[in-house]
């Protein structure tokens, strides 16, 4: 629960007067400015930004959504030139498409002490087709140099009145002042959610408006028309939310963040219902129950898991003779996993219908995992789909159909719930692909009811190494190594290396370890997904200890010593996202060369973070001519909150200090 608060803020409504962004005349001082005082590292800054979203009624086509954008950007140096090119990804459907219109703009420069304006032509827009459904439209400002101020405005008209794109409040450069207003006719009821760390509060206002009809026809969006007239008028209210923000800092990229957009300050609108006068409301989404019901009712979702008859024969032959539900679950999962090949396309809905997908042996995520649910149900198991938002897709903020882009299967057995994804050849029962490990999913039940479920695995993905090392008097080492990978580590291993020939893989391992020479390599369970990956080999590696005069110095973890702290920042604004809890353990037995004795050993260390978040331990002991090192690092949760960052950083620092510490041997 705690994690939710990390990224979602509650929207506070302000009933005061909206502040307004004014585009004052571009002055010499503005053009002469060499860097941004509030953030000297900024290559460019948005001086002013005004975005208006509003509805326009066209008698022929009904309501359209219009987004008008006006921005003024100061470019400080060449790294900021990218901000002089504006790109919009736009939707096109059959017949209707979105496009950039009414482009106007100027670049301001200071030339010989004079302000010089260069105009962009409205015709200088390039349209590329990205796919059947997407166009990209771009334009670039003329005469851009260091110091330039750019100002442009344009409008995007969209025939998709039910959809308002997410509106960002924050860029990778600072924004000095911005105003975003969203005006919506009373007929449309949207729910909003705000993300990011910045406080955002809209000012709400309303005004009345009217639509005049010039003929007797009935408008296609259900607006009523009084009879017998050539001219009719409809009065309605427009509700406006205005967001005003000042000094919005640049969004900063950090390590171990899965998707920066989860932390970008932005607002999202989701349609709840449409209600025209004298007609019943058309519900879209209001609560999780309703959103999920809507998804479930979609013929590419619910129907797909209900009509399972065509699978009966196959299912019966798969589970023939099985009594145990877990056994049945596994058998059906493996059948679907082996039979189906994912076509690389995401989606919670079935694309071609599970029946066709089953026949073709390929399909999108919806096709494959809904098929899996259908088969599990046909086998009499308590199976249901689970809606997921992948890591790249971000975190679903509030009940919304677009919030989910992926679906997996679940089976409930007593108080246990098992998650399954058959789109990858190396997933397993309760082992999902890394991309699906993102906050919460929703289990969808037959009646459309749903329940929240954490997508983060509860068990640590482990890597365990066991190494026997013979240290030579010249500093070289040879020995045997055995490594186990479980959970996500095994999944990643199989995805990365199962299809590479062994020789190339070994060359990679050898080179990753500074030219190690490997022999007697063996790997077990590459395809037996129920067991961990076990690698073992003999190795020889030069220069792993310093031999100086009659002494030998070495770090007892040798080539696997962690040398650099990935956490370098003093403070962190975003949580650390490891995707899954993990653990790495080493046992190293070192035979010290004959004729040497230990004169110095690093001390043992145990360090734990509060609330069992993570721990590091280092134990080094000596028995006869052998040293034994045991180290263990673990993080028991996938997500670590920013307030716990300092502890993690310190743990890593201590670990690196410890692991790089040297054992000293001396000639007897």
């Amino acid at each position: 629960m705690k994690v939710n608060h990390l990224i979602i803020l509650i929207l506070m409504v302000n009933l005061g007067l909206a502040q307004e962004v004014k585009f004052e005349k571009v002055s010499k001082e503005m053009l002469e400015e060499k860097f941004y005082v509030k953030d000297s590292s900024a290559s460019a800054v948005v001086l002013a930004r005004k975005v208006r979203i509003y509805y326009d009624y066209k008698q022929k086509s009904g309501f359209q959504v219009i987004r008008s954008v006006k921005e003024r950007i100061k470019i400080y140096n060449k790294s900021g030139f990218g901000y002089a090119t504006i790109k919009e990804r736009l939707y096109k459907g059959s017949g209707a498409k979105e496009s950039i219109g009414s482009l106007k703009g100027n670049t301001y420069n200071l030339e010989n002490g004079q302000i010089v304006k260069s105009k962009i032509k409205g015709s200088e827009i390039f349209v590329s087709s990205l796919s059947k459904y997407r166009n990209e439209e771009k334009f670039t400002m003329p005469n851009v140099k260091e110091g330039s101020i750019l100002e442009y405005e344009y409008r995007i008209t969209s025939p998709y009145a039910y959809y308002i794109d997410e509106i960002p409040f924050q860029y990778y450069i600072p924004i000095q002042e911005e105003e975003v207003s969203v005006s919506i006719p009373e007929y449309f009821n949207f729910k909003t959610a705000v993300r990011g760390y910045l406080p955002v509060s809209p000012v709400i206002s309303s005004k009345s408006a009217k639509i005049s009809f010039t003929s007797k026809s009935r408008a296609n969006q259900g607006l009523p028309v009084s009879e017998g007239n050539n001219s009719n008028t409809m009065y309605y209210t427009i509700n406006t939310s205005t967001f005003y923000m000042k000094d919005v800092p640049a969004l900063q990229r950090e390590l171990y963040v899965n998707n920066m957009n989860n932390y970008r300050s932005a607002i999202k609108y989701e349609l709840q219902f449409v209600k025209y006068p004298n007609s019943p409301p058309e519900e879209y989404a209001t609560t999780w129950e309703k959103v999920i019901k809507k998804i479930y009712k979609n013929q590419n979702f619910g129907n797909q898991i209900e009509a399972t008859r065509f699978l009966r024969e196959d299912v019966q032959s798969i589970i023939n003779g099985m009594v145990d539900n877990q056994q049945k679950t596994k058998a059906i999962f493996q059948h679907v996993q082996n039979r189906m090949s994912w076509n690389g396309i995401y989606g919670k809905y079935s694309n071609k219908g599970v029946k066709n997908a089953y026949k073709d042996k390929t399909g999108n995520v919806g096709d494959i995992n809904l098929l899996l649910v259908a088969m599990l149900k046909e086998a009499g198991l308590n199976a249901n789909p689970v809606l997921v938002s992948t890591r790249n897709h971000g975190v679903p903020l509030f009940p919304t159909r677009e919030g989910f882009n992926y679906v997996v299967a679940s089976v409930e057995e007593g108080d246990q719930i098992i998650l399954l994804d058959a789109c990858n050849k190396y997933t397993n029962v309760n082992l999902l692909p890394t991309k699906a490990l993102n906050w919460f999913g929703r289990v969808v039940y037959e009646d459309g009811a749903s329940e929240k479920i954490s997508m983060f695995p509860k068990t640590n993905s482990k890597q365990m190494s066991m190494m026997n090392v013979n240290l030579k008097p010249n500093g070289d080492i040879d020995g045997k190594l055995r490594k186990n990978y479980t959970g996500q580590n095994a999944y990643l291993y199989r995805n990365s290396y199962n299809q590479i020939d062994q020789e190339s893989y070994l060359e990679k391992v050898e080179n990753d370890h500074g030219g190690m020479e490997i022999s007697n390599y063996a790997v077990k369970n590459k395809t037996d997904l129920s067991k961990p990956i076990v690698e073992s080999y003999d190795f020889y590696l030069e220069s792993q200890a310093e031999v100086i005069n009659d002494k030998i110095y070495f770090s007892p973890m040798f080539f696997d010593t962690e040398k650099e702290n990935p956490f370098k920042l003093d403070k962190r604004d975003y949580p650390i996202d490891f995707a899954h809890p993990w653990q790495r353990r080493y046992i190293v037995n070192i035979a010290i060369p004959d004729g040497y004795e230990v004169i110095s050993l690093p001390e043992n260390l145990i360090m734990t973070l509060p609330e069992n978040l993570g721990a590091f331990s280092y134990k080094l002991g000596k028995r006869g001519n052998t040293l034994q090192l045991k180290t263990d690092i673990q993080f028991n949760t996938a997500i670590i909150a920013p307030q716990d960052y300092a502890g993690v950083k310190e743990l890593y620092k201590k670990m690196i200090e410890k692991e790089t510490e040297k054992v000293v041997l001396s000639k007897i």
Binding site: K78, S129, L130, N565
Partner: protein, 637 residues
């Protein structure tokens, strides 16, 4: 004549594969190191007239694993001049049974994307096929009609690394002797190859080509793979006709058809240019001023439409918007130079950090991908890249250095080699004065001075933000843990092309403690950090393209209360790859160590047998660079 053409046409359409698509029919040796096997790979080109050409592509590829999928990609680029008249594919399982068929209507079309252009007018017709099993086989066929006879398809008998070929065939048919193509055969030695020539038809066939593996430092694929380059002496390109038999003629054509009339500027701009160089007589000085004006006032934006892929946008257009691609900016710079009466030439070049020459005896438009400008001055050329806003005048860096390029001069176009940066010209000098404290912390000043290609790798730091600079050093000196950049300053001498970095740094725990002792690397700031990869069996020769020289001198003051237990020894290695010299001495009465390092690597091409020795040399260097000093607490009695 008519009959012959007709029968050839029949042949090309009703071509049939009398072939077994069964996976098990692939010879064993073709499966080694392969992700895909081209069972059949064929292109039949038919030139009909100077502006009519058609060709048919047929390939049968068995994909062995997911890494081979790109060889089964079902797609073809096209443009205004090119029409895809037919396209389709059939998919087979590993036994050769048909499992899917994809017809022309199933293909989609989208805009081409090259990753750096704002806009391209090329389009792509494609179908995304999802393999449902491995291995699988695709049979792909595609027919093209085009008026661009200036772009006759080249032929790669081998389509890339880690793929092998069972059968490959190139055919070109032409209407008359006048159209007999020039064909340049590259790296064909050692392959099983058959060439047949009839009076209007040339055919190449190859069988059983094994796969090649990419290895570190190996020559470019184009230098080792069997390739045919094909050109027509008379051709049409984007609607413009040409007759070209030498680079001189190619230059003339570019000059006449692509560049002519593009240099004009408005009177105002001409005046501006003149006023910039007022009172300056020397042409080189003038050129420097104009180049810096272009750098300060323009930026690189690539828009490629039609002939615009080869012809620059006019100078007047670039002047209006102050952006353009390499051709447009080069042409614009030439226009400004011409306004101030400085001679300059348009230069066509193949850019990239791998040096690729234009081929002396094979004038072909498709060899270059970039444009720069040459300024003749006192018997030599000064080269400038107008797409860079930061490079000094006359400095090309590793993007276009040391390679044969086409200098387009009226009636005297020729291939010329650009400036090379070799061996000690690529100099990096690192010096440091640092103090080590008793806890192992390091603090002091470091300076880095770079020239040549090393300059190219360092000088861009100047344009980075403070945070980026700090991150850069943390990574650049990743061997120094906990590195903190306290302050820094840069000095960029654009005239002599030297970049100087001066830094104050601090690093806690630089030295490792072990009991009474402190251990630390003698060389914190100029270390060889990685080795060339080790190969169980090296197959290709290796190339060191440019070479370099690193010089370092560090003074390290030791903490009070410690004695030196051990210091690294001096070493001097000299061999055909270069020189490595290190020494450490104790400065008297100063409790200070003086470390000196000299590391020269020479450019050259070496046979595969020497790779191991080269790696040994690098390993020795790495080892010495890691050498440790041991201090021990002074015993107090």
């Amino acid at each position: 004549m008519r009959f012959l053409t007709f029968s050839l046409l029949l042949l090309s359409i009703h071509f049939s594969f009398s072939q077994d698509f069964n996976f098990s029919a692939i010879p064993k040796e073709l499966l080694n190191n392969s992700n895909a096997v081209y069972r059949w790979d064929e292109i039949a080109v038919k030139v009909n007239s100077i502006d009519k050409m058609e060709y048919t592509i047929k390939k049968v590829v068995t994909v062995l694993n997911k890494h081979g999928n790109r060889h089964a990609y079902l797609g073809k680029y096209f443009d205004e001049q090119t029409k895809i008249t037919n396209i389709g594919a059939v998919i087979y399982d590993s036994f050769g049974n048909k499992i899917d068929q994809i017809k022309k209507n199933d293909f989609s079309t989208r805009s081409a994307v090259d990753g750096f252009s704002l806009y391209l007018d090329d389009k792509l017709m494609y179908y995304n096929y999802t393999p449902i099993q491995y291995p699988y086989t695709i049979e792909f066929e595609c027919q093209i009609e085009t008026s661009d006879t200036g772009a006759v398809p080249q032929w790669y008998f081998l389509s890339g690394y880690l793929t092998s070929v069972e059968y490959s065939k190139y055919t070109i048919t032409y209407p008359s002797k006048k159209f007999r193509p020039n064909i340049k055969e590259k790296n064909l030695d050692g392959f099983e190859l058959l060439k047949t020539e009839k009076f209007n038809n040339i055919t190449y066939e190859a069988r059983n080509i094994q796969s090649i593996k990419k290895e570190e430092l190996c020559p470019s694929f184009n230098e080792i793979a069997p390739i045919l380059s094909v050109r027509l002496p008379e051709f049409s390109f984007k609607g413009i006709q040409a007759k070209v038999n030498s680079w001189k003629e190619m230059g003339d054509w570019i000059n006449e058809e692509l560049l002519k009339g593009r240099l004009e500027l408005s009177q105002g701009t001409v005046e501006t240019a003149k006023s910039l160089v007022r009172d300056i007589d020397d042409d080189l000085e003038k050129a420097k001023i104009i180049y810096s004006y272009v750098q300060d006032n323009t930026r690189y934006i690539s828009v490629q439409v039609g002939i615009g892929g080869f012809q620059p946008i006019s100078a007047i257009e670039v002047d209006k918007v102050k952006y353009g691609d390499c051709k447009g900016l080069s042409n614009y710079t030439r226009a400004l130079l011409s306004a101030v009466e400085v001679e300059s030439y348009y230069v066509h070049v193949e850019a990239g950090d791998e040096k690729i020459d234009f081929e002396d005896d094979f004038p072909d438009l498709l060899q270059g991908n970039h444009a720069i400008v040459a300024i003749p001055y006192k018997g030599q050329y000064y080269w400038i890249d107008c797409t860079s806003q930061v490079h000094p005048f006359g400095f090309l860096g590793d993007f276009t250095d040391g390679r044969k390029v086409l200098v387009v001069k009226p009636n005297e176009s020729e291939l010329v080699t650009t400036t090379s940066y070799l061996n000690s010209e690529n100099l990096k000098r690192t010096s440091a004065k640092v103090n080590l404290d008793s806890l192992g912390g390091l603090e002091g000043t470091v300076s880095v001075q770079t020239q040549g290609i090393k300059y190219d790798q360092h000088f861009y730091l100047e344009g980075k933000t403070k945070k980026q600079v700090a991150d850069y050093y943390k990574n650049y000196w990743g061997n120094v843990n906990n590195l903190q950049l306290e302050s820094y300053s840069f000095e960029n001498d654009r005239d002599s092309i030297v970049f100087k970095e001066k830094l104050n740094i601090e690093a806690s725990n630089y030295a490792n403690k072990s009991g009474e002792r402190l251990l630390f690397g003698i060389n914190p700031f100029n270390k060889n950090r990685s080795l060339p990869k080790r190969y169980r069996k090296r197959n290709s020769p290796f190339v060191i393209q440019r070479g370099f020289l690193d010089e370092a001198e560090f003074e390290i003051k030791l903490p009070e209360g410690f004695d030196i237990e051990a210091i690294p020894q001096s070493l001097h290695i000299e061999n055909e790859f270069g020189t490595y010299k290190v020494s450490v001495e104790e400065l008297e009465n100063a409790n200070t160590l003086l470390y000196k390092r000299y590391f020269l690597v020479k450019h050259g091409k070496f046979p595969k047998e020497k790779y191991k020795t080269y790696r040994e040399f690098q390993k020795e260097v790495l080892k010495m660079d890691n050498a440790q000093v041991v201090l021990v607490k002074t015993k107090t009695n």
